[in-house]
């Protein structure tokens, strides 16, 4: 069995590794489970960001993320362009998120555990900042999908500019154009929301 370079197996060094997604997929198919762990390191946060749109409950987000990667593992051999693993797993995540949203619509009685809510802010100490971030992420979840993905891809450190652009099937300049548009829209929406809140109070 081929083994990964030692540097490639730890998350921190993964970003700078020369090992491509295609290599990791090939090694996973050859039976190297650590290689799949490395794929999880690279794309896990993005998958969490995508599925996090439909649930603010952290354990649910984690479950959905694991579900995405398990589906990816089981179908890995059907992936034609192995370098496109990131795009592919994000596609699975979108599908899982849609399924989850449908389930939630059916089972309206289901409530998340309030203690586990705030999927993205439970690590933030400052309560006011945590609330602001929560508001920000909720506003973000209402942006058009590609703009949302552009923001995730930019702010997740696992992706460099080229990889982020590839994830959205765009050129680098196209990606940046989309990103600045997304940010402008996000801030405008936040401002509009804040103004509404001020008017109410």
């Amino acid at each position: 069995m081929d083994t990964l370079p030692a540097a490639a197996t730890s998350m921190g060094s993964m970003e700078h590794s020369e090992v491509t997604d295609a290599d990791l997929v090939s090694q996973t198919l050859a039976g190297n489970r650590d290689a799949f762990g490395c794929l999880f390191d690279r794309h896990g946060a993005m998958v969490r960001a995508v599925v996090g749109r439909v649930s603010r409950d952290w354990p649910t987000v984690e479950d959905m993320t694991q579900e995405c990667f398990l589906r990816a593992f089981n179908r890995l051999a059907s992936l034609r362009d192995r370098d496109q693993f990131g795009v592919w797993v994000v596609g699975i995540a979108r599908h899982v998120a849609r399924e989850r949203r449908r389930t939630l619509r059916r089972d309206r009685h289901e409530f998340g555990n309030p203690a586990n809510a705030r999927a993205t802010t439970s690590g933030v100490a400052d309560l006011e900042t945590a609330e602001q971030i929560e508001q920000l992420m909720q506003t973000l979840s209402n942006l058009p999908e590609r703009e949302r993905l552009a923001i995730h891809a930019h702010f997740l450190q696992e992706y460099n500019a080229q990889q982020a652009a590839e994830l959205l099937n765009l050129s680098r300049s196209g990606f940046y154009a989309l990103l600045k548009k997304a940010l402008a829209r996000l801030v405008a929406t936040l401002n509009a929301h804040n103004q509404q809140e001020e008017t109410k109070s």
């Binding site: 762990g37 946060a45 940010l183 801030v187």
Partner: protein, 348 residues
């Protein structure tokens, strides 16, 4: 300089660019500075929120790897048929629009080329009609062949009768089955053999039989042709041109008399309708018309006939050697009987 747009500020907040003009403007504009500060706060919060997505990653990774089937490789691919146009999904929007535009242009170009190169029967018949309307005169040779050698009065066959037909657009016609055009074995030929029909438009016609040395005057038949309409080439062509929709099958292209010709099959019965109730043979199958690719005028017409009242065997008639717009001698259409011939005009 005008205030920076939200997108320009976003560009600065992300750190994509540092335009000196923008930076200079920011120094002087507190409103833009405030907006930029807000954007920077948002980007910082976004970075914090995305960092939070990594918490518990190591534990999550461990759990995921535990869930993977032990000692098993991922299932091997099941060969599935590649979906048509799946490659299209791999293109971005700009490429899709470009490809769609190129495809649409190519399809239109192909269609136009096809229309231009393929002689469509419908169009061809209309072109023939237009060309015919400009024709002044026509001279053709019509050859009638009998398929069945056993006919009353004729020994054996197959027999072949050639006639030369002159026609003017004004309506004058001459059907000349002179003896040099008759190829017949035995005696007792059909009544019109060795006969000339002169049919000036609007005047009495004349039928001269050189075989019996007799003549017969035909009364004026305004608007009606004395002979079988199928012997009048221009009339046939005019009729066919009036019904372009009946030309329903292309026969392809071939060289006839050193000219490129497009052929079409036409349902003659539908075109001529009830005009054959005079006992003339009925058409057997479609009429084949070959048009000159350059002038759109006929250069060959072929039709088959079933036995009728006056003809007891099947026959085929081929009209060929078309000469359009030739100068014709006006004497050809003067209905004067030859001297010494007996007048056999029936009494009215």
């Amino acid at each position: 300089m005008a205030c920076l747009s939200q997108e320009q500020l976003a560009q600065l907040a992300i750190g994509i660019t540092e335009e000196p003009e923008w930076t200079a403007h920011l120094r002087d504009c507190p409103r833009c500075r405030e907006k930029l500060a807000q954007l920077q706060t948002v980007t910082a919060q976004l970075a914090a929120a995305h960092n939070a997505l990594r918490r518990g990653h190591a534990e999550s990774r461990r759990q995921l790897l535990e869930k993977l089937p032990v000692g098993e490789h991922p299932p091997q691919p099941v060969r599935t048929r590649r979906q048509p146009l799946s490659w299209f999904k791999g293109l971005n929007m700009k490429q899709r629009i470009l490809l769609s535009g190129v495809s649409a242009t190519a399809i239109v170009a192909l269609f136009v080329t096809w229309i231009a190169l393929t002689a469509k029967p419908l169009f061809a018949m209309e072109l023939m009609k237009e060309s015919l309307s400009k024709a002044k005169s026509c001279k053709t040779t019509s050859v009638m062949e009998f398929d069945d050698p056993v006919r009353p009065g004729i020994d054996e066959g197959p027999d072949r009768i050639s006639s030369v037909i002159y026609e003017l657009a004004v309506g004058d016609g001459r059907f000349d089955a002179g003896d040099k055009y008759i190829e017949i074995k035995g005696k007792g030929a059909l009544s019109y053999l060795n006969t000339i029909y002169i049919l000036p438009a609007g005047r009495p016609g004349l039928e001269i039989n050189h075989f019996t040395k007799t003549f017969r005057r035909d009364p004026v038949k305004l608007g009606v042709l004395s002979l079988n309409p199928r012997n009048h080439t221009m009339r046939i062509c005019e009729e066919l041109g009036r019904h372009p929709e009946k030309a329903n099958r292309s026969l392809g292209t071939k060289i006839i008399d050193a000219k490129k010709a497009h052929g079409f099959a036409i349902d003659g019965e539908e075109v001529f309708g009830d005009e054959h109730e005079d006992g003339r043979p009925d058409l057997d199958g479609p009429i084949e018309v070959w048009l000159d690719a350059a002038t759109h005028l006929p250069i060959k017409i072929h039709m088959k006939s079933k036995p009728g009242n006056n003809q007891q065997t099947p026959s085929s008639t081929t009209t060929t050697y078309f000469q359009w717009n030739i100068k014709t001698d006006p004497k050809l259409f003067i209905a004067t009987p030859p001297q010494g011939y007996v007048d056999e005009t029936p009494p009215n």
